[in-house]
């Protein structure tokens, strides 16, 4: 083979590699892709993901009806039930995702690959967010129809902003937890399981957070869904403002702050935990 032929062959087989921001975005899309497409291929997931929260929502709605609660509380329950889908997604498909990847043997491949772990987590978050939004929307519409809930949105712009900020902060929190869970093994499952009911309680998924005293509600506000849910209820229900914990603009400000805090912390902690996990040999262990 002469040099001309050799050069032609190498040109034929050379692949243009993305670097920098393009590579980062490519990784984000690549990781988000299976989550979004996976849902289209396995539609029965959607059915179960809607049915399970709907059962809990219905039970709590009937409790309110048994004690003759005003109708807006029924609406609060449906909205809270819809938002449980996001919390479940953050717990099981963000926080403990790296534990599942470890169990299946994929985690070491993630670490070996030349892409950023932050981009992988961001892709996971983006894919999870899109897929879960569809479920939450379905629960809200189905619950609204079943229990005849009067939604009266006062500002669609603010509602969209609150939702987006709450989601960015929440999934930032999920990325932060995912890096912490890198070191965990079997206990990851139990810790995710433990974080369900207490958060439903303190974030006011089924009642207004204002029912707690100020400091309990303020402490619970570290979880972005607490303020997100409170602000959304104020914007969606006629009596929501009277039962709100803080004003919507203030909650928007705090949620913006939480977005910055969680995303920055996730970046710093991920780098630290990745190094620690490599040093301690925890990336490939499987303690069942």
């Amino acid at each position: 083979m002469n040099s001309e032929q050799s050069s032609a062959t190498s040109e034929k087989w050379s692949v243009e590699k993305n670097t920098g921001l393009r590579f980062f975005l490519q990784t984000v899309i690549a990781r988000a892709y299976p989550r979004i497409i996976g849902q289209q291929r396995e539609k029965s997931w959607m059915f179960f993901d809607i049915l399970l929260p709907m059962l809990a929502v219905s039970a709590y709605v009937f409790v309110y009806r048994a004690i003759d609660a005003p109708d807006e509380y029924v609406g609060f329950v449906v909205m809270g039930g819809a938002m449980t889908a996001f919390w479940m997604n953050v717990l099981w498909s963000m926080s403990s995702q790296l534990y599942w990847e470890k169990e299946m043997g994929n985690l070491s491949l993630y670490i070996m690959a030349p892409n950023s772990m932050m981009a992988i987590l961001l892709g996971m978050a983006l894919g999870g967010l899109v897929a879960t939004t569809l479920r939450a929307l379905a629960i809200t519409i189905l619950g609204g129809w079943l229990f005849k809930i009067p939604y009266e949105v006062t500002s669609f712009g603010q509602l969209f902003l609150v939702f987006m900020l709450a989601m960015v902060a929440l999934y930032g929190m999920g990325m932060l937890f995912a890096s912490l869970f890198l070191l965990l093994s079997r206990e990851a499952w139990h810790l995710s399981n433990l974080a369900q009911e207490p958060v439903y309680l303190f974030s006011g998924f089924y009642f207004p957070i204002k029912s707690f005293n100020f400091w309990v509600a303020a402490s619970a506000s570290i979880i972005p869904l607490t303020l997100g849910l409170d602000a959304m209820r104020q914007l969606v229900f006629p009596s929501g403002a009277a039962l709100g914990f803080l004003s919507v603009p203030l909650e928007l400000g705090i949620l913006s702050g939480l977005c910055v805090i969680f995303l920055t912390s996730a970046k710093l902690l991920l780098a630290h935990m990745e190094k620690l996990a490599i040093r301690e040999g925890r990336l490939t262990e499987s303690r069942r």
Partner: protein, 299 residues
């Protein structure tokens, strides 16, 4: 010539002898306890066992108190609180037994070894449920004590009908174990959504059995589902045995005496037990024939 060989169920092989039953049950219970508890130190395990149920109960307490302004002496409150507390057994026992199949098949990948071991499989699964029963008992006890101490749930120990309480509890746990066995059988045959099957069944029963609200609150067309479920009668008997006054406040089952309720519970338990045994052995038989015992779905 027809070469198809039909396999059939050998009924005698389905019933264990006493030694096999005792050995299998004891070892399965010990194994279940290790799996449930040894992932952490006892202190964290105790917190885990207490925080989760108390938070679930606290959600209902807050919902109730903001609407009724803390009128905890109303009969609806002990109805909700005790129903929710005892319902923990449903998730614990029923889901615990069926979960053993998922754990052994998908996670530890040991289900095939269990099938080649000289044990009786249904007894093994029931034994695996003992750990969850123990943890649930602790959670129920703590939740009730918390209610008595801080939320004015009035249980007069001298007035409690202990005989009715323990007999109802015993029959109820057997009934839940049988329902768990039924779910375990179904789990053997399915690859998708096995993780949800226990939660969805427990969630549906929570809604239809009047655990946290009287059945009259349900739309009329849904009430018959609740009347068909043994859990509805079980919870009513437990409430009556602890706080008899609750029974008179709600008309749903007030026309039944304790003896009648016990008779219904026993009858439905027997029906469900027979149904569970038939379903489990049929599913197990199908799973063997289709080679699904050692299936790992990675789903």
């Amino acid at each position: 010539m027809n070469t198809t060989k039909r396999t059939s169920l050998n009924i005698q092989s389905l019933i264990p002898n006493r030694a096999t039953f005792t050995r299998t049950f004891r070892v399965a219970a010990w194994l279940g306890w290790q799996i449930e508890s040894n992932w952490t130190d006892p202190f964290l395990f105790a917190i885990y066992s207490i925080v989760k149920p108390l938070s679930g109960a606290a959600i209902l307490v807050v919902m109730y108190s903001i609407i009724i302004n803390g009128a905890f002496k109303s009969p609806i409150f002990p109805y909700i609180y005790l129903g929710n507390a005892f319902y923990m057994y449903v998730g614990g026992v029923m889901t615990g037994i069926s979960w053993a199949i998922i754990d052994d098949r998908e996670h530890y990948k040991t289900l095939k070894y269990m099938y080649v071991a000289p044990i009786h499989m249904p007894t093994y699964l029931l034994g695996r449920g003992v750990a969850r029963f123990t943890v649930s008992s602790l959670s129920v006890l703590i939740t009730i004590l918390f209610g008595v101490a801080f939320l004015h749930v009035q249980i007069d120990l001298a007035a409690v009908n202990w005989g009715l309480f323990f007999v109802s509890l015993f029959i109820g746990v057997i009934m839940l174990a049988m329902m768990g066995l039924m779910l375990a059988g179904v789990t053997l045959l399915i690859a998708q959504h096995v993780w949800f099957i226990g939660d969805i069944t427990a969630g549906a029963l929570y809604l239809f059995s009047g655990a946290i609200f009287p059945l009259d609150v349900l739309p009329k067309y849904l009430r018959p589902v609740g009347y068909f479920m043994p859990i509805t009668y079980w919870l009513e008997l437990l409430r009556r045995s602890l706080v008899g006054s609750v029974a008179q406040a709600f008309p749903t089952l007030s026309r039944f005496s304790n003896t009648e309720l016990m008779g219904i519970l026993l009858g439905l338990t027997v029906v469900f037990a027979i149904f569970a045994a038939v379903i489990f052995f049929w599913c197990e038989h199908r799973a063997r024939e289709r080679g699904m015992i050692d299936m790992v779905t990675n789903y």
